[in-house]
C-alpha cells in the first residue's frame, strides 16, 4: 500500500516542555487510522504539526510523497480537516457556508456546485440548505461542520472528535458518512474518545501517551496484547467481602471489582470460567440476577497500556 503520510522523528516543544517526542509513524492509502490518547497525550499537537498549523522543532513530515510546509498548497488541495469546534459563518446559510469553504479549493463553479450537493447529501442536510447555523441543532451543526471540511473531495481527511456531544441519530449519520468517504477512496485519520467508534471504524490504531507512541496495530493486534482474556460481570446484591477475596485467590483471576451491586471478574486465560463462577455461586447459595461474559474491549487495552481512561 502507498504511504500517504510519513512522520519521521517528529518533535515539538512548548516553552522547553516536550509535547511530541520523536514520533514516527505512517498512514497508508485507503485506511482509517485511529489516533487515541488521554488529554494532553499529544494527539492535537501531532495533527497540527502534520497540517503545518504549528512549526516543528525536529523531524520531517511527508504527505503524498512531498515535504509538508505552510506553503505546500498543492498538498493542501488534497487535505480536508474537520475540527472538533464548529467553524462556520453565522451570517451565511448552510449552503453558502459549504460554498465558501469549497470555494477555497475548487475554482470551477460547475464542479463546485456538484461537490457541494454531494457533501450535503452525504451528511443529510438536504432539508436545511437555507437554514442559518443558529437555526440548527448541535448535531446538525456538526454535520454542517463536516460538510464544510470534506466538500472539496479531499484524498486525506482529518477528523478531530467529530461526534462529541452529538445525538445518536447524527452520530450514526456521521459514522456512516465517514465509512462512505473511506469507501470512495479517502484516507482518514480519526481522533476520538469513544472506543466503540474506533472499534467500528478504524483499521489501525495508534495509542499516544506523553507525546510518544506506546502501541500501534489493528484492533485485534492490540486486544491480543491484553493480559485479560475474559471478563465476567454479575449483578449481585450484598456480597460479602470474604467471597470477593475468595474469588480473587483463584489461579486464573486477574482482578475482582465489586461496586454498586456489580461484580466484575477478569481472567487472564482459561476455559469454562463462566461455568466455574456459576457453580461457585450455587455452592455458596448466592443469589444473582444477570451474569454475562465478554472479551476484553479496546478500552480495557487502553487502560492497561496507559493506566488511565481517555478522559483523564
Amino acid at each position: 500500500m502507498n504511504k500517504i503520510i510519513e512522520v519521521a522523528n517528529l518533535t515539538k516543544k512548548y516553552k522547553g516542555k516536550t509535547a511530541v517526542d520523536a514520533l514516527s509513524f505512517s498512514v497508508f492509502e485507503g485506511e482509517i487510522l485511529g489516533l487515541l490518547g488521554p488529554n494532553g497525550s499529544g494527539k492535537s499537537t501531532t495533527i497540527n504539526c502534520i497540517l503545518s498549523l504549528l512549526s516543528i522543532d525536529e523531524g520531517k513530515i511527508t504527505i503524498f510523497g512531498q515535504e509538508m510546509k505552510p506553503s505546500a498548497y498543492e498538498i493542501k488541495k488534497e487535505i480536508g480537516v474537520v475540527f472538533q469546534d464548529v467553524a462556520v459563518f453565522d451570517e451565511l446559510t448552510v449552503i453558502d457556508n459549504i460554498r465558501y469553504f469549497c470555494g477555497l479549493y475548487i475554482k470551477d463553479k460547475k464542479v463546485r456546485e456538484v461537490y457541494i450537493e454531494e457533501a450535503i447529501q452525504l451528511v443529510g442536510l438536504e432539508e436545511f440548505k437555507k437554514y442559518y447555523p443558529k437555526q440548527l441543532s448541535g448535531g446538525l451543526l456538526r454535520r454542517l461542520n463536516i460538510a464544510c471540511g470534506i466538500s472539496h473531495k479531499p484524498k486525506l481527511i482529518f477528523f478531530d472528535e467529530p461526534t462529541v456531544a452529538v445525538d445518536p441519530q447524527s452520530r450514526n449519520n456521521i459514522l456512516d458518512g465517514m465509512k462512505t468517504l473511506n469507501k470512495n477512496g479517502a484516507t482518514i485519520i480519526y481522533t476520538t474518545h469513544y472506543m466503540e467508534e474506533v472499534e467500528f471504524l478504524c483499521h489501525r490504531v495508534i495509542i499516544l501517551d506523553k507525546g510518544k507512541i506506546i502501541e500501534s496495530g489493528t484492533i485485534d493486534e492490540l486486544k491480543s496484547l491484553s493480559n485479560i482474556e475474559e471478563k465476567i460481570s454479575v449483578e449481585v446484591n450484598n456480597l460479602k467481602k470474604s467471597i470477593i477475596s475468595d474469588i480473587a485467590k483463584w489461579e486464573q483471576v486477574e482482578s475482582v471489582d465489586y461496586e454498586n451491586g456489580i461484580l466484575i471478574v477478569t481472567y487472564q486465560k482459561g476455559k469454562n470460567n463462566l461455568a466455574g463462577l456459576i457453580h461457585y455461586f450455587k455452592e455458596n447459595r448466592i443469589e444473582y440476577n444477570k451474569i454475562f461474559s465478554e472479551r476484553p474491549t479496546l478500552n480495557d487495552v487502553f487502560l492497561e497500556l496507559t493506566g488511565k481512561g481517555l478522559r483523564d
Binding site: 498549523l53 493542501k76 487535505i79 480537516v81 475540527f83 459563518f89 451570517e91 465558501y100 469553504f101
Partner: protein, 380 residues
C-alpha cells in the same frame, strides 16, 4: 472571488446598520438645511433706550426725541427700577435730557445730556446715534441756521443711507451648510466603517475559521489581500455614497472650491477611519463588543471634536483632549475652509497642517495594526 462574494453576503446581512447611520446623516443634513434657510449675514438691531425728558417737548428737543424713537426701541420704565432694568439688560441706554436742553443748544452752548449705559454693543450703538445727532446739529447751529432749518438739515444729513455691497464671492450660508454636513459625516463614516470592518474582521479572522483557511489551498497572503481590498472598497463606496448625497442635498455649495476641498478632506478622513477600523478589528475578538466600541469611538469622538456641537461652544479642556483624535483635525479643516475667502497655495497653508495630521494618524494606525498582528502571529 469566493472570499469577496462571502464578504458581500456578510455585508448584506448587516446592511441595516450602515443604512441606519446613513439615514441619521441624511436626517440631520436635511433638518440643518431647513433650520438655516432663514439665516442672513447681517441683521439690523435697535438698542433698547429709556428717554427721560425734563425739557419741554418742542423744537429741537422734540426733534431729538423723535429721532431717537425712530432708531431705537424706546422703553418706559419707572424711576425706582431704572438701575435694575439696566442691570438686567431690560434697557441698554438711559438718556437724561435736562430742562435747559433746547435753550442751551440754541444759544450755542453744549446741551446738557446725561447717560447711563450697560456698556455692551447695543449701548454703543445708542451712544453713536446720540453723538451723531448732536455733532450734526451743532454744525448747523454754528452755521447760523434757524431752529427749523437746523431740524430740516439734520433730517437730510442723517437719513442718507449708505448702500453697502458685499463684493466677496463667499456664500457663507451655503458653506455653513456644507461644513455642517461634512462635520456630521465624521460620525456616520466612523461608525459605519468601524462597525462593518470590525464585524468583517471578527468573522473572517475568527480563530476557527482562520485555521480552516490556513489549511486550505488558498495562500494566506492572497486571503489577507482580498480582505483588505474588500474592506477598502466598502469604505470607498460608503464615502462615494455620502459625497453623492452631499451633492444632492447641498447643490451649488458643493461646486465651490471650499466644497471640493472639504470633499478631499473627507476622503483623507475615510482612509483614517479605515485604518482605525482595521486596528480595532485586530484587537476585538467578539462580535458582542462591536456595538460598544462603535459608541465609544464614533459617538465619543464626534461629541468631543465638534461634529454635533460647534467647536466654539466646547470648553477648552475638551478641545485639548480632542487634539488626540482624528475627528478633531478633520472638523478643524472644514471649519477653516468654510471661512476661507481666497483659495490659493498661500491661503491653504493653514489646512495643510490638520490634513497632514490626519495622514499621520492613518500611518500610525497601520503601523500599530501590523505590530499587533505580528505579535499575535508569533504567539500562535
Amino acid at each position: 472571488m469566493t472570499v469577496f462574494k462571502t464578504f458581500l453576503k456578510v455585508l448584506n446581512k448587516n446592511k441595516f446598520i450602515v443604512i441606519l447611520y446613513s439615514v441619521i446623516l441624511l436626517f440631520f443634513g436635511v433638518s440643518n438645511m431647513q433650520t438655516q434657510e432663514e439665516n442672513t449675514n447681517f441683521i439690523s438691531s435697535k438698542p433698547d433706550v429709556l428717554l427721560v425728558v425734563s425739557d419741554e417737548l418742542e423744537g429741537i428737543t422734540k426733534h431729538f426725541v423723535d429721532y431717537m424713537e425712530k432708531h431705537t426701541n424706546r422703553k418706559e420704565i419707572e424711576e425706582s427700577v431704572r438701575d435694575d432694568a439696566l442691570f438686567y439688560r431690560d434697557v441698554n441706554y438711559i438718556i437724561f435730557i435736562n430742562d435747559h436742553f433746547r435753550e442751551d443748544f440754541l444759544s450755542g452752548e453744549q446741551p446738557n445730556i446725561e447717560v447711563k449705559s450697560t456698556g455692551d454693543y447695543q449701548a454703543s450703538l445708542a451712544e453713536l446715534l446720540v453723538n451723531n445727532y448732536l455733532k450734526v446739529a451743532s454744525v448747523y447751529q454754528k452755521m447760523g441756521f434757524t431752529e427749523e432749518e437746523i431740524m430740516q438739515n439734520i433730517d437730510k444729513t442723517l437719513e442718507k443711507q449708505v448702500v453697502m455691497e458685499v463684493t466677496s464671492p463667499l456664500d457663507t450660508d451655503q458653506l455653513e451648510k456644507v461644513a455642517f454636513y461634512y462635520n456630521f459625516l465624521s460620525y456616520s463614516m466612523l461608525a459605519g466603517c468601524v462597525y462593518i470592518i470590525c464585524l468583517m474582521l471578527v468573522s473572517f479572522q475568527n480563530e476557527k475559521i482562520r485555521k480552516r483557511t490556513i489549511i486550505s489551498s488558498m495562500s494566506d497572503r492572497k486571503y489577507n489581500r482580498i480582505l483588505l481590498l474588500s474592506n477598502g472598497l466598502f469604505a470607498l463606496l460608503l464615502w462615494l455614497c455620502y459625497v453623492v448625497l452631499s451633492f444632492i442635498l447641498l447643490g451649488e455649495g458643493m461646486f465651490s472650491r471650499q466644497g471640493f476641498l472639504m470633499l478631499i478632506n473627507s476622503f483623507l478622513f475615510t482612509i483614517c477611519c479605515l485604518t482605525l477600523a482595521f486596528l480595532l478589528g485586530t484587537l476585538i475578538r467578539s462580535k458582542n463588543t462591536i456595538n460598544g466600541i462603535v459608541n465609544v469611538v464614533a459617538l465619543g469622538s464626534s461629541f468631543l471634536c465638534g461634529a454635533f456641537v460647534p467647536m466654539e461652544w466646547l470648553p477648552n479642556f475638551v478641545l485639548k483632549i480632542a487634539h488626540l483624535l482624528p475627528s478633531y483635525w478633520y472638523i478643524k479643516t472644514n471649519e477653516l475652509l468654510k471661512t476661507m475667502e481666497i483659495i490659493n497655495i498661500e491661503s491653504l497653508k493653514p489646512i495643510f497642517y490638520p490634513m497632514g495630521i490626519l495622514c499621520f494618524f492613518s500611518v500610525f494606525f497601520v503601523i500599530l495594526t501590523n505590530y499587533i498582528s505580528s505579535k499575535r502571529r508569533n504567539i500562535g
